[in-house]
Symmetry: C2
Amino acid sequence: MAGLSVIAFDADDTLWHNERFFRLSQQRFQELLAAHAEPDQLAARLLAAETRNLALYGFGIKGFTLSMIETALEITDRRIGADVIGEILDMGREMLRHPIEVFDGVGETLATLAARYPLVLITKGDLFDQERKLAQSGLGELFTAVEIVSDKTAATYGRIFGRFGGASGALMAGNSLRSDILPALAAGAHAVHIPHDLTWDYERVEDVPPSPRLHLTDDIRKIIDIIDKI
Amino acid sequence: MAGLSVIAFDADDTLWHNERFFRLSQQRFQELLAAHAEPDQLAARLLAAETRNLALYGFGIKGFTLSMIETALEITDRRIGADVIGEILDMGREMLRHPIEVFDGVGETLATLAARYPLVLITKGDLFDQERKLAQSGLGELFTAVEIVSDKTAATYGRIFGRFGGASGALMAGNSLRSDILPALAAGAHAVHIPHDLTWDYERVEDVPPSPRLHLTDDIRKIIDIIDKI
């Protein structure tokens, strides 16, 4: 086998908790607006606002906060009190301050792999926030390159992997089929899907075509065995 | 002379208009809150909020929008109407959609330089928004590398110029003494200051130590002559 020349990882919900902070904020958002909307209706309106705003805001907590404020105005026909808006701003700031909790096994697995391959972190979201999280995770030194990108398409992966000998010798590991797995496969790379029990609705996909380059595991430690067999 | 091995440019207010859109939004913000605060007082509170929030939000329009909302709540003791909050959200979205107006002489100057040197764009702000502006400017193809960074420090410039043979052979051109000129000089690079008549208060500096590596011009076209003499 030709082996691999670069291993790439997603960050949020692959290396550390992220979606849980969004869920907690959504729950508080639903409580704040309980007098105005049913939780399910509110969640649907928020997802609609987030999706509509993606083309302007991109991914990340600042855009999420702005979409929560917009949804609060929309669902109350602009009759919401300024105190609730203040609470939403506070929630956004708290999310931006939340401590990073790295998943079990991540540090040792990355250290083992970093001794053998260049590692690349590929993540989307707010540049500033993602840099903060990486710094706080203590994992920064293990990566040869950190790519904070506005979206993860096959072209994104092709461009990044091109700097490391091409996609056919690359492997992308992540929790999101939509952002990490499908576009990496489409670019010609190997992919390891490590599902996370919380996945943002936007990232869900129905259909994954089978591929000999697609691998699945529930434990990031097992990626070493998977790589040994490629 | 050893000559140069890489030329770098700031984007906002160096290659295209930016600050004017922030000023227009601030003016509308002052009109919206005219019943609650004097323009000067409001501007001071907004700058204080922006500066306080930089460590969480970083630079860019989304953070600016969140800081406007925060200031509106603060200055009215959370008694502002939701309709005003809605107007601020609209203003933020309009800023994110504003068309790019490239300054006169930029296209031809970059094209001339790109034939001789690798060009690097170094800009801070929202990743997503800066990518949009670059795409819309039509200048993207002229740059060998585009670096959208969370802050511009001497270390930032040292890291980027290191990939092109080191800071001593690099030149950084931009409108901001604080972000473009002083840290690039500190990293050991040459710098061309191209002042813009509108500069965000945050970017102002009092004191620029003299340096043989610092050049000044009011016209980006003249950078070619400056470079020829280095």
